[in-house]
Symmetry: none
Subunit: 210 residues, 4 copies
DNA sequence: TATGAATGAGCATTCATTCAT
DNA sequence: AATGAATGAATGCTCATTCAT
């Protein structure tokens, strides 16, 4: 809980940027996350971020090693927290069905809480799957998938879920439908994340047909 | 065949690039589409495309006005065809349920046939919704949405589909689940687009629970 | 004689800069060599070179991959030619003594002909021995040393040269004395390279004492 | 001991950095000299020096006015000491020949004792002769040259040295051969500075030929 | 003495685009 | 249709230096 952003110290040996978790650092990271998410990572310049923060672009390098390091840190924290949360949920819930519902509620809540990180994860897939530096994202995604698949398979075995559906494909359909909502979810709109989750669950549980 | 790629001539009056539909042009566009889709639009340089085509980057400007014009043309053709197809389907089918199934089969088939255009549409949302030049994409999307919503509402009215689900939200959930498969669909894999559509329909029709 | 500057094509596979030996290229390289030599490599900016050539800095990259590539090319050609020349001399001359005199005359003539390349070789030793990309310079230097040492040892054996002097150390003393003259040699001065070589030979042959 | 490192106080009037000769200061200067010499002055960053000293780069400015001031101080002390020493030697020795030998022994011993300062003097000639702030180095070099020339001329007059060699050119050949050894002299190697000096003298005195 | 945050100028390099040939 | 040389603006990043604490 207190860890997670000391790669700079841990990795290269020689640290250049301020690795500690200062308030300024978190603030800059929040600005970067929002801009990366809304304009796209490579459409966002280091100067854009600095301008928004009210400093000069070069000053960002007092806090971070590179533009890429900022994205890395944002995604690392996001993926880490996500995995932790869903693992807890999958373990805590009594039935596979309750676990699945919990995972889904958590997903929509995550979109509500950290929309920019989710959008990044969702929109920058070309970058994230191509650049070796971001391989950890793919790895974390697989860890997340394992947890969901565990729940889905347990539910099929227990008779909660239909057994004629392929769990892997089902997981992808569910995952994509949920995470994609980050593109149109309005946190101040009519449908709040809880209600949206209920809408989705309603459809998922019983299907579309009468 | 009669329409769609003569904007360069039609619009500005300035006719620089070859507006006609030559074979070379189509070939270059295909190369661009694939690279834009796999690396991302702004991660792809004009030189990347030219290298792949075996010409120099400046020579591309004999065929196209700009890099952006290439993306515009790819998306314009894609959106145009898509709208045409789904309109035909929605009108041709007898029942809302058959129409919905038809739309879904068509979507998966589209992913199979023109994966790069779909990936572009799916991955470049930050660019597409931000840049005014791409407003036509959002406009076309709304036209597409209208067709789907028409089918969904008709189905709810006809008693085919459950009436307690909000059609707008349902549409988005379905749309996102389907189009997102472009990221993991393997055209040479075990699950071909038709089988994949059936998997999705199975889940959508009856729901996940037993 | 017609070869030597096609590393760009030979190496990476994907060439970016114009690898061919155009006249413009040679001209730019000459400008770079002079500036690198007089101001120092890292004190010379790419803009300095471009300004001197009357183009914009970015345009240099049409011809060369990088600033470092320019230095590499200058040094590679210099070292290549040097090795070729001294090998020819060592082989052509009849006696070790004639060979040594030939090598020395050639050295002073080289300083006269390509002073900037020599100065670079002489002044940028910190860079050249530290940066792995310039390892080829050290390697070539060793090849050159071999030729000189061959002559010196043959001369000692033949009784031309004193046998009580360590050939390795002798070579270094001679080499350094000669190449260092590039710092003060004036090609339009009183003492032309031939006269300067004679001065040095006079001292080297008979010593300073009466 | 009484002079040499109070320019900061003496010159501008602006007294920012600690002008006194504290131990910390000397330590920092030693670090800087080594890095300047091995990597090159402009390849060495202020942060490099600070890192090596275990402080932050900004903290260096408590001790020195600027990076350039560090180099100035290193060279000023070196040149000052050198001039003092050779003046003493030239005055103390009885004959020109003994004086010349003394100067040469002293040079090799200087390379052994303060290799980094010598390397700086030897390698940064482009910077030293170009930048007006370092004009004092050129001036000191001329003072040094005067002493050597005095010995050489006296030796020629006295019949110790051959009179057919131009003293100025001879001086340069000797000087360059000696100082250049700093690039390959190994203080822990087989040939210690005294032995190396003897090797050189052997060759210089009697020449290479038998 | 030292920190840590920031400045401001500059740097090598990239890249879409132009245009004469 | 394509080349090859160049533009001009921007980009990520570096680095000597400042200064309040």
């Amino acid at each position: 809980m207190a860890s997670s952003n000391n790669e700079a110290t841990a990795r290269g040996g020689r640290r250049r940027a301020n690795g500690g978790g200062s308030a300024r650092r978190a603030q800059l990271l929040a600005i970067a996350a929002e801009m990366f998410a809304t304009r796209g990572y490579s459409q966002t310049t280091v100067r854009d971020i600095a301008d928004e923060a009210g400093i000069l672009s070069g000053s960002l390098y007092h806090h971070f090693d590179s533009k890429e390091a900022m994205l890395t840190e944002i995604l690392r924290e996001f993926m880490g927290n996500l995995l932790q949360e869903i693992t807890d949920i999958a373990e805590a819930e009594s039935s596979p069905r309750a676990a699945l519902d919990g995972l889904i509620f958590n997903s929509f809540e995550t979109i509500h809480r950290v929309p920019f990180a989710v959008a990044l994860y969702q929109n920058e897939s070309a970058l994230l799957t191509t650049t070796p530096e971001f391989a950890f994202v793919t790895k974390s995604s697989l860890d997340v998938e394992k947890v969901w698949l565990g729940v889905l398979k347990a539910g099929a075995k227990a008779g909660d879920f239909r057994a004629d559906l392929d769990p892997g494909t089902t997981y992808r359909f569910i995952r994509d439908a949920i995470w994609s909502t980050v593109r149109w979810y309005n946190p101040r709109g009519r449908l709040q994340h809880r209600a949206l989750a209920e809408q989705y669950l309603e459809m998922l549980h019983g299907g579309l047909l009468t």
